[in-house]
Each structure stands twice: as C-alpha cells, then as structure tokens.
C-alpha cells in the first residue's frame, strides 16, 4: 500500500522563453493519492497528463518540485501501462510478463493473471500475432505482475473499439478488485473515469493545473450500471460547469 504525494512547482520544456521549443507544461500541481485509491486524471489531449505519469515513473526528472511515492528512502516499484502496449516483439506473451520480475518469475501469479485476462491460450504467441486489444491486456497483466507499489495507466483503452474497450475495462476492474493497488489512470473519457475511479481530478490545458477534484460516490457493485454512470455524469456537468470545456 503506497500513497503518491505530488508537489510540482513548474515543468517546462526548452531553456528560455525565447526558445522555439519552449513549453510550460505544468504549473503549481499539488495533490496526494491515498493508498489503494483509484484516481482518474481527466483533461484535454496534450495538457501534460503523460508528462506527469512519466515524472512519477522516474522517466523524466527535469522539473521543479517533488514527487514522493510510498515511504521515503525506498525506491518504489511501479507498474506502468503505456498508451501503446510497448511489448517486446521478439518475446512471447509469457516471456514479456516474466521479464518484469527481478528474480524468479512467480509462475502461479502469472497463470492466474493470464486466466483472469483470458489470455492463457495465447501465452506462447508473439505479440505481433495478437490483436491490439489482446496486446493491451498483456501490458495490463505485466503491470499487475510486478505487484507494484503503484500502478500508472496512460489511456490504456484508447484506439480500441467500444465493445473491446468495455470488455478490457471490466477485466481490469475485476483484477483491481482482487488485487487492490494505488492507481493513477489517465483518460479523457468521462464515462470511463466514472466507471473506474474513486476520485476524479480534472486538469486544465497547459500549463496544467487542477481545475476540480471530485469524489465518485457510486457503490462499487453498481459501476456496471450504465444508467447510473450516465446520471452521475449529467449531475457532475450540471454542478461543475468549469469541467465542461476540458472534455
């Protein structure tokens, strides 16, 4: 169980304002994600959501501020589901999952995850022979397999057709219920965010700031009910007009 404490003063690309590449990506972003909380970051395309996840994952350290994950002094383990699956094409599905273990791969854990994502029969296939939906499921398994302190998910269902996205989303959700993690999930699909999250953080276009931070009070067992999701969405848009332009 880990929390994520984010306190970023500034994140800019380019060295000076005169620089052609200058871009002020993030300004004064402060929030904490509590242990086992499922938080969705909702914001327009290009606002800096992926940049933020990369900073949390340690892939980008050029910023002013501080990001702490878990207890101080301990390097946190992170499961990252990228926008594109980023599987190694020369390794089979199973090998791709096994590689994320520092020591001996946990066979039973991998078997269980493959079963829950309905991928057991393709475990020895190469990723390029699978559909995009299946590749995304493999990348989700990989993130869960490390039994990480936190899970970062960057629009993992983008470019999937609606039925496939719904199927993978419900598989992800049941997996998360079996194995709760602290999750930071990026999306610009409000219905998806409501269906998954405990808490929604709405972000402005760059420089990215928090516009609204709203809890989702739909009981977990009622998240499959699309009319409830739709009702919550309408209420949200009615009571928080400031988020309307961000979707």
């Amino acid at each position: 169980m880990s929390d994520i404490r984010i306190s970023i003063a500034n994140k800019v690309y380019g060295s000076t304002q005169q620089d052609d590449q200058f871009h002020h990506a993030i300004a004064e972003l402060n929030f904490t994600v509590h242990p086992d909380q499922f938080v969705c970051l909702v914001g327009p395309s290009g606002c800096g959501k992926t940049t933020l996840l990369n900073m949390i994952a340690g892939l980008d350290s050029h910023y002013e501020g501080q990001i702490d994950v878990g207890r101080s002094g301990i390097i946190p383990s992170i499961g990252y589901v990228f926008q594109n699956p980023r599987l190694l094409p020369w390794h089979s599905v199973r090998q791709n999952i096994e590689l994320v273990f520092a020591g001996q791969p946990k066979t039973e854990l991998i078997d269980g995850l493959l079963d829950s994502m309905q991928l057991r029969d393709v475990e020895h296939q190469y990723p390029e022979r699978l559909s995009l939906g299946m590749q995304r499921r493999v990348s989700i398994i990989r993130a869960f397999a490390v039994e990480a302190d936190i899970l970062l998910m960057d629009e993992p269902f983008v470019s999937l057709d609606a039925p496939t996205a719904r199927q993978v989303r419900s598989l992800l959700y049941s997996l998360w219920q079996q194995r709760p993690h602290t999750v930071l999930f990026v999306t610009h699909d409000l219905r998806e965010a409501i269906a998954l999250a405990d808490r929604l953080i709405f972000l402005s276009p760059s420089p990215m700031r928090i516009v609204s931070d709203i809890g989702v009070d739909i009981a977990r067992d009622q998240r499959h009910d699309e009319s409830r999701i739709e009702y919550f969405r309408e209420q949200l848009l009615r009571h928080h007009p400031e988020i309307d332009g961000l979707l």
Binding site: L59, G79, F82, R86, L88, L99, V100
Partner: protein, 252 residues
C-alpha cells in the same frame, strides 16, 4: 505435375549454373588458350591440390586469419558502435576519425602495418582489423541511434537494470545491423586478407595466387578461388542463414 515454388526456384538456380558452365566450356574450347582452361582442367587442378594437401593448408591459413580478424573487428566494432550511437559527445568527437579511417585505402593500411610492425602475423591481422573496423562501427552506430525509445522507457520504468536491458531490449534491435555488418564484413575481409597475404605472408590463398600469377597458372588460380567461394557460401548456408531464421522467427 506442378512444381512447388521452392522446387521451381532450385531448378532455376541449377539450370542457370549449368548454363554458365556450358558457356565457359564452349568459350574455352573456342579460344583453346592456356589463359582460359576448361572446367574439367580446373576440376583436375582442384583435385590434385586437395590430394597433395596444399589447398587445405593454404585455405586453412587464410580461414584462420579471417576468423581472428573478423572476430576482433566485430567485437570491437559492436562495442564502439553502440557507445558512439548512444553518446552524442563521443560521436561528435570521434566522427572525423571514423570518416578518415573509412577512406584510407586498404593497401595503404596494409603497407603501413608491415612497415611499422614488421612482416608478422599480428601486423597482417591488425591491417585487416583496421580496414574492417570503421564499417562495423558505422553500421552498428546507425542501429544504436535508431533504438526504440518507447521500449527503453518501458525497461527503465520496470527497472530492468543494465544487463537485462542490453540482452532483452537493445541487442535484439541491433540484430539486423549486426547481420548486415557480418555479411558485408565476410565479403570485405577475405578480399583484404588476400592482399595482406600477397604482400607479406608465406602461406595462405593470397600467397598462392601470387605464385599462380607468376607461373601463369590460370587453372590453379580458378581452383583456389572456387574453393574459397564455396567455403564462404558454406558459412552463409550453415551458420548465418539458420542463425538469422532462428532470431527472426518472431516476425510475421
């Protein structure tokens, strides 16, 4: 009866080889000159040189030089190529060197190595390595520059560590470049080795070809050449192609 595609291709290759042989035979008969012996005469020369042990001895000497210089050039070239491909400062610093070494004529390197280090086996190997090394470096450097950043980030976020990242993420991406360097390397190195042997060794293919030139023995010259080409083909068919197939099996 319809032939399968691969059987048809094999038949085509066989008939083209037979056609070449027939043309050679006809031309040799028409010219009737010692400068173009018939295939049968070349075959006879090959057989005699093999039975006497001369051909295996000289061929073996050249192959050993090929193995040593190729191994050193590939190992060093891969290491330096990856380093230059991943480090822009080093690349900017050494790029001039690379361009210079790429453009030094092979003959100059060979002569200089013999003058500076003597007519030794090590000078011969060094001359071949110096000739081949820049090509390997340039090819592998291009590979290292085009590494998939997304996959490297994935490895970093899952804390693969240096060894695991190299073995599972970097090396498989470099494979096509290594194979290209290997193939062009084999073709280039053996040609350079012949010049090295011709200029300063007392055995090997190059030395023998020099003797045949002095004696105007075209049959011997062709017999040795065909034997060597056959060996290189054998390396391609029994080592490189199967290796390539095995490593590329994940591709659709």
């Amino acid at each position: 009866m319809r032939l399968s595609c691969s059987a048809r291709n094999k038949l085509l290759a066989l008939s083209s080889s037979l056609l070449l042989l027939a043309m050679w035979q006809l031309l040799a008969l028409a010219l009737h000159s010692p400068t173009l012996p018939t295939p049968a005469k070349v075959g006879h020369s090959f057989w005699q040189a093999t039975v006497s042990g001369e051909l295996p001895y000289h061929l073996g000497a050249t192959l050993l030089r090929l193995l040593a210089s190729f191994g050193i050039a590939m190992l060093l070239g891969c290491a330096i190529g990856i380093l230059l491909g991943k480090n822009q400062t080093l690349n900017a610093f050494f790029d001039n060197w690379l361009v210079m070494f790429l453009n030094i004529p092979a003959l100059v390197t060979i002569i200089l190595c013999y003058i500076w280090f003597g007519l030794e086996e090590s000078s011969a190997i060094l001359a071949v390595v110096i000739n081949k090394l820049p090509n390997v470096i340039v090819t592998i450097r291009e590979g290292a520059r085009s590494l998939d950043k997304d996959l490297l980030e994935m490895a970093q976020s899952y804390r693969f560590g240096k060894r695991k990242t190299f073995v599972h993420v970097i090396w498989p991406q470099l494979h096509p470049f290594v194979m290209a360097a290997t193939r062009s390397g084999l073709a280039l190195i053996w040609k350079i080795i012949l010049v090295v042997e011709l200029l300063g060794r007392s055995n090997g293919m190059g030395y023998q070809l020099h003797i045949f030139f002095q004696l105007f023995d075209v049959a011997g010259l062709l017999a040795y050449s065909f034997a060597f080409i056959a060996i290189i083909q054998l390396i391609e068919l029994t080592i490189l192609k199967p290796m390539d197939r095995k490593i590329q099996r994940w591709r659709r």
